[in-house]
Symmetry: C2
Subunit: 328 residues, 2 copies
């Protein structure tokens, strides 16, 4: 498509694959290619026609990439890649280590300003869409309380922790918001909720040969930080069941703001996501924001940005007049 | 508070009263006063200290009002007041005649540009917050369908229609979204829903003396446009019950986007409001957006604007760095 927004992908795991799929759903975008640290011949794109390059092939490509979507991890990849690429490209990333966002923002901001580029950090659904709803909630109902619940969702970190327990041959962990806690919050009561009251954890575990089920269960439910503060249920299943029933990556959750506009009037705002695939949805969010980043770049808004800086209309392929007519 | 954003209210009905209450919940704002077309001595503000002026007293006050919130109606007041005040003040209004938004926007835009002012139109929850979620839904899940449900809510227009039926001494009408329809949409099925399938209507009616209940019921449920396309239930109650149980103005609803990021992965985004008082919540939205309008004015963004043009962070009293640290 002539005039399409030219997207490139840096890093090709679940998130990168999701971005490839999402670009295909947006007719105003085209995909320049996938840039990987692996050998390009080892990467099989979803679409046979998608070009795959080594990551170094990004050198000199800044003239034909409008937005580079960074699909690496927050722990090791983005702290290095984020600032480095922001000096040369408009970028979008999903940096999600909440506590380190300020320092990451500053590092990316310095490079993006120096290069005259727009770099949107910490995009996705949390941080991202959930964050926007936390800001809206506070601003619209200043006399109130905000609750974030996650799940039902597969937690990668907790699944890894379960799999490291001796006697575990395989397994996954789901975080599940407490129905009772959600009902209390929806009721407008502004309850104080302990960690244990907010979420429960559910594990599906395949035992290693000769492992003792009760011993494994105890090791999981008493694991510090990961499980000891929660009510955790452990289900033992077969390797076949694990492969058949637990291969998807569902996630989601709720941001609920409960507040009062006067002593006798309670108001509740609720934002919820029910995601069949966490990485595919996160990728869709990154791609929509890439459109906004392209426009912010054209408008000369250099530097690091977050979802808080992006007018909602800039996410849409429609013109401002179309949006007012069709969706306002 | 020194440096507070100075808000003024034009029009003092339910919405104006809500704005007065909402300004009191925002410590970074101060209320200049209420400006009314009635005799100022006939207006009793919520707070005894709130100054009340005639509407003409706005003349020459543009130097000490940062944002004027227009609390008149969309039918007769705003088409005149919106453009006129936008020439002299930064304004926020809740114009909600969806079909006439484009022409209203143009009229306000011309005056606001001429006066170098920022005028946010069609703010509130629908149009407003719901509109934002319709834009997000389309942009994030381009392969999908959007559903807006309203209620459970008191409908002013339909209540008026009920009260005009011969034999009706008093009454109210509630719009109620169909639980079954919502469940189908949440399930990701993207159903085609008829008007009748989306909402039901419930009326609480006080009969006039000697009126025939069945005749009144028939007149209501068969009323063209208002009721004939819906399943409507009419409850007959006493005047005492009407006064006791139906004096509040609850409302709310849902915007649900159901879409696919790939053939086998469905994703559902849901935004919901459960409002104890529709006018008080709408007022809270106007007041939060007044903060953003003040900032847009300071940034030189003259002209008519909508919620689509406002970065979420601009609604908050917190700085961008605080928002990134605390809420991202």
């Amino acid at each position: 498509m002539s005039g399409a927004i030219r997207i490139a992908i840096a890093g090709y795991g679940n998130l990168g694959r999701g971005v490839e799929a999402a670009v295909g759903k947006n007719p105003d975008m085209s995909l320049v290619g996938i840039f990987t640290r692996r050998s390009p011949q080892d990467v099989v794109p979803l679409q046979p026609g998608t070009p795959v390059f080594g990551i170094d092939a990004l050198d000199g490509r800044d003239g034909d990439i409008d937005v580079l979507i960074l699909c690496g991890g927050s722990k090791d990849d983005l702290p290095v890649q984020g600032p480095a690429f922001a000096a040369r490209f408009n970028t979008v990333d999903s940096f999600d280590t909440h506590a380190r966002i300020p320092e990451y923002f500053d590092a990316v901001d310095a490079q993006a300003r120096a290069g005259g580029r727009t770099a949107l950090i910490a995009c996705g659904w949390d941080p991202g869409l959930f964050s926007i709803n936390r800001v809206f909630g506070e601003a619209l109902l200043p006399d109130g309380a905000t609750y974030t619940f996650w799940g039902r969702g597969l937690s990668q970190g907790h699944s890894d922790a379960v799999r490291r327990v001796p006697g575990v041959a395989g397994g996954v962990q789901y975080t599940i918001p407490s129905e009772e806690a959600i009902a209390r919050v929806r009721g407008g009561a502004r309850p104080e909720l302990s960690v244990r009251e907010r979420h429960v954890r559910e594990c599906y575990v395949v035992l290693a040969q000769d492992a003792d089920a009760e011993q494994v269960r105890q090791a999981i439910v008493s694991m510090p930080h990961y499980f000891d503060q929660y009510d955790t249920t452990v289900h033992f299943i077969s390797a076949e069941e694990l492969a058949r029933d637990h291969g998807a990556m569902p996630h989601g959750g709720f941001v609920i703001r409960s507040g009062n506009t006067s002593a006798d009037q309670a108001q509740v705002i609720e934002y919820g996501l029910a995601l069949g695939s966490n990485p595919q949805f996160t990728a869709s969010v990154l791609v929509a924001y890439a459109r906004a980043v392209h426009r912010m770049g054209l408008a000369g808004q250099a530097g690091a940005k977050t979802v808080f800086d992006v007018p909602p209309g800039w996410l849409s392929p429609k013109s401002a007049a179309e949006l007012r007519r069709e969706l306002l």
